[in-house]
């Protein structure tokens, strides 16, 4: 609550995180069939957000079928034993809600937002498509073309559309992360209906999923509905396959050049492969990311965009995955001829953050920014629901972010420097994404 009468508080004293969970009505349990169920009541808007997250993603694509997990995500909208295709769309859109899904390297997330009085119907529909998917040759073939169209649209038509895929190939050549999530049209065309059915049987099971519901709801009533619709789904007896966590290793290609069609300016990317970090370590990586690349006063932005003006954009990105991490520094240069200068600036900033402590002011700023990001990311029920599902699946705690706020507060400048030294100990994988026509 804003208090304009006294002096403003220091944000370091902000309890903050209690306020991101506006209503304390909370339930977190696991059904007998292994489904984890997280429920939070919050009446900010007259809606409920439902997320079902499955612990399967691009890295679990069958051999020779890269892009399959994502293709499968589309097929989950194609109907069940009890419902025709597009039922989820009708049940959401037609009552004023929406639905969507996305696939990452590690997870597949399905989510809906509907008026609160449609919650039971949504729970029924999600249980139904977990238990009894039905796909036939025709809608499989149609949807496969839609996914290939998505590849054309997102990867080929967009400037820099291939950049992330290239970095993954460059950095993870020993691991399925190299194949990306979207796959490629040839692998997608090779997929068969049998692959689809096997994939559903293998990964779409209650003990490989989490259900999260956030919104204007009654927790006890919601739990009763969950029991009614999800409890009858049996836990399969076969073993859930898991691919092996790779040993840490250096990328094979430390420098790569790609000439992109339809690219106006040169993009420079530095990618550092990370081991699997603990939550404490990851929080320090977040601070390094902030100091280097979040906001206009961050070091990389200031050096490349503001001071030297060699870049139109520059930012950093920490990407923590189940089997490895990726820390990237990316800049889009005004002029390809300034590449050596831009690289020297990036390298200079990396050396500096490893050799000198950041200032107390920088640490405090990063702490404020990260506290603020945590609040902003939890503002809407759907964002919060997705975050709970993600953290339940990959961190085994839907509210793992609450502890992140404490980790940020407790970090010292020496901690941050030690983490920077570890992060940047090995050489980066450098990618130049160059325009075809290099006049500028």
């Amino acid at each position: 609550m804003l208090d304009t009468t006294g002096a403003p508080h220091s944000v370091l004293q902000l309890s903050g995180m209690q306020s991101t969970t506006p209503d304390t009505t909370w339930s977190d349990r696991t059904l007998e069939n292994g489904l984890r169920v997280v429920i939070q009541a919050d009446a900010t808007s007259p809606t409920v957000a439902v997320t079902v997250g499955y612990h399967v993603g691009g890295k679990d694509d069958p051999q020779g079928r890269s892009g399959f997990a994502h293709l499968f995500e589309h097929l989950m909208f194609k109907g069940t034993e009890n419902t025709p295709a597009e039922t989820i769309d009708r049940l959401t859109e037609d009552v004023g809600g929406f639905n969507n899904a996305y696939t990452t390297a590690d997870l597949t997330m399905y989510y809906e937002v509907v008026p609160a009085n449609y919650l039971e119907v949504m729970l029924w529909a999600e249980a139904d498509r977990l238990a009894s998917l039905r796909v036939d040759e025709q809608n499989f073939a149609t949807e496969r073309e839609v996914v290939i169209g998505e590849y054309d649209q997102r990867i080929l038509a967009e400037p820099y559309g291939l950049l992330d895929e290239l970095v993954e190939r460059q950095v993870f050549s020993d691991h399925a992360y190299a194949n990306g999530v979207i796959g490629d049209p040839d692998s997608l065309r090779a997929a068969s209906l049998d692959d689809v059915l096997a994939f559903h049987r293998t990964y779409y099971r209650p003990d490989n999923a989490v259900l999260v519901v956030v919104g204007d709801l009654d927790v006890a009533q919601t739990n009763a509905w969950v029991d009614r619709y999800f409890q009858p789904i049996a836990r399969p007896t076969h073993v859930l396959p898991r691919i092996a966590v790779p040993e840490y290793r250096l990328p094979d290609m430390l420098r790569m050049t790609h000439v992109g069609q339809n690219v106006p300016l040169l993009a420079l990317n530095y990618a550092y492969r990370l081991p699997v970090f603990s939550d404490d370590e990851a929080a320090l990586v977040d601070i390094v990311e902030c100091v280097l690349g979040l906001g206009k006063s961050s070091r990389i932005f200031k050096a490349l965009v503001h001071d030297a003006q060699v870049a139109a954009q520059a930012f950093t990105d920490g990407d923590f995955r189940e089997h490895a991490g990726l820390f990237q520094i990316r800049a889009v240069l005004h002029d390809a001829a300034q590449l050596p200068q831009a690289e020297a600036l990036v390298q200079g900033e990396i050396e500096r953050i490893c050799s000198e402590n950041i200032t107390m002011a920088e640490l405090r700023r990063a702490q404020n920014q990260l506290a603020s990001l945590l609040v902003r990311r939890s503002e809407g029920a759907n964002d919060r629901s997705l975050a709970y599902a993600h953290d339940a699946l990959l961190r085994n705690d839907p509210r793992a972010a609450q502890a992140d706020a404490r980790r940020y507060r407790e970090a010292t400048v020496a901690d941050v420097r030690r983490m920077a030294e570890r992060l940047f100990a090995e050489p980066p994988a450098i990618l130049e994404y160059r325009p075809q026509n290099e006049e500028g």
Partner: protein, 454 residues
């Protein structure tokens, strides 16, 4: 509702009251609107000034865009480095922006830190630094962004469609300018803009989120109460929008993976009494189960998706229906999209078809309450269009009141006739697929396009 075997029925709707806005006018003419909600510790403030990029002279296109982007560099007497550091210290967000109809400055932060963030940012609005070196930075960045936009089929189609629909009317000019006008803009140009358009009288400040009305008014008073407008205030009306004849324009962007297909025409202004009919018509066309997506994606697999928009503006805004398709399928796609738009009259909606489409509008209204920025934007739109704040409370009733007949009439009067077509993609593949259907196909090349001569 769908007759699904085993599906439960929905329960009774849960009661809900949207947040109320209260308002007050400061002695300098600044209107202050506050809508409180306290679930999340964030405050959002939007300051809007009523003359936007549509008032930029032709020779100075991009003037509003550059000037408002420059607000982010802070006030006079403080270096942009220092301003950025101070703002980052407070984890505040501040940005200036320009639309055709307004100039705006938005800020938000954790509520605990908001008074400090506001104190920092209000000086950037009242006395922006507008330093030469910052102007040069923003100019270079904007020109780079334009090059990126011109390389994206969809972004270029948007820019070209505006020109095709509005011709020499200001809504036909790109807000961010074109490279040659950006090159020519001087510090004096952006200073002049700030001095005659960033004035409290006629402007509105909307505060939403974790702040009470009285605290909000007190904050507005402390930040802007002693601000006095000076200098001559431009108060020019735009030339009336005239409907140019429909055109078919293809822009060659050979390397784009897919063609951007845009159909559009000029429709009505936000204040128009039939605006809500237009909203319902857009809902019929849009969304996964909307007529466009069903025809283009679900039935024919031509595209990943298709949708329609009606831009709410002070002057009659554009209607556009858009999609991305294989270059060789452009002819078929344009035909299908024209048929779908025409179907609003030939196969008018039934009451039953309208039920879910209206629910879609109601749902997005409900969800806009999920963020304090969304709540603020709703009131800012009303203020900018000189509409009473009470329209916010009437929104759902106005949607409900639209009849099937009214939607068909709206389509007949404002959507179907005189549609223009803009396609950006591989012209070699596109043009043959269009020739059969259209007589005068105009061709341009993205590589050397001059938007203002289209």
């Amino acid at each position: 509702m769908l007759g699904l075997v085993g599906a439960p029925e929905p329960s009774a709707p849960r009661p809900f009251t949207p947040p109320r806005a209260t308002e007050r006018r400061l002695s300098n003419g600044l209107r202050v609107i506050v809508a409180s909600r306290h679930e999340v510790p964030l405050v959002n403030a939007q300051l809007v000034f009523p003359l936007g990029a549509a008032h930029d002279p032709l020779a100075l296109l991009g003037q509003s865009y550059l000037a408002m982007a420059l607000l982010n560099y802070g006030p006079l007497g403080r270096s942009s480095d220092q301003f950025a550091a101070d703002l980052d210290d407070l984890a505040g967000r501040f940005s200036g922006g320009a639309t055709y109809d307004a100039l705006s400055a938005g800020l938000s932060s954790l509520s605990e830190l908001f008074p400090q963030v506001l104190a920092l940012c209000n000086q950037a609005v009242r006395q922006p630094g507008l330093a030469q070196e910052d102007l040069d930075r923003v100019r270079a960045r904007t020109i780079s962004e334009l090059r990126v936009a011109y390389g994206s089929a969809n972004s270029l189609a948007r820019i070209v469609m505006a020109r095709v629909l509005y011709g020499a009317h200001p809504y036909g000019q790109p807000i961010a300018g074109v490279p040659r006008t950006l090159e020519n803009l001087t510090r004096a140009d952006v200073q002049r803009l700030a001095s005659i358009r960033l004035l409290p009288d006629g402007a509105t400040m909307v505060l939403t989120g974790d702040v009470n009305a009285e605290a909000g008014f007190a904050l507005a008073e402390s930040a802007y109460g002693d601000w006095r407008g000076s200098g001559c205030r431009e108060k020019s009306a735009l030339v009336p929008v005239s409907l140019p004849s429909s055109r078919v324009v293809v822009v060659d962007l050979p390397d784009s993976g897919r063609s951007a297909v845009w159909l559009g025409r000029v429709t009505i202004e936000r204040r128009h009494p039939r605006y809500f009919e237009g909203l319902v018509a857009m809902a019929l066309l849009s969304g996964y189960s909307g007529r466009l997506n069903v025809a283009v994606r679900v039935k024919r697999g031509l595209s990943y998706g298709a949708s329609a928009q009606l831009q709410a503006r002070r002057e009659p805004g554009p209607f556009s229906a858009t999609t991305l398709v294989d270059h060789r399928k452009v002819g078929e796609t344009v035909e299908v999209m024209r048929e779908v738009i025409a179907s609003l009259v030939t196969q008018p909606p039934t009451e039953a078809e309208l039920v879910p489409r209206k629910a879609m509008l109601r749902g997005s209204f409900g969800r806009s309450l999920d963020s304090v920025a969304g709540l603020g934007s709703s009131f800012a739109e009303l203020a900018l269009n000189d509409l009473p704040l009470s329209e916010y409370d009437e929104y759902l009733a106005r949607i409900d009141a639209v009849t099937p007949r009214a939607v068909a009439d709206f389509a007949r009067d404002f959507l179907i006739e005189g549609l223009s077509v803009v396609v950006v993609g591989d012209a070699q593949a596109i043009v043959p697929s269009l020739r059969g259907a259209f007589a005068g196909v105009e061709e341009y090349r993205a590589a050397d396009i001059d938007v203002l001569t289209i």
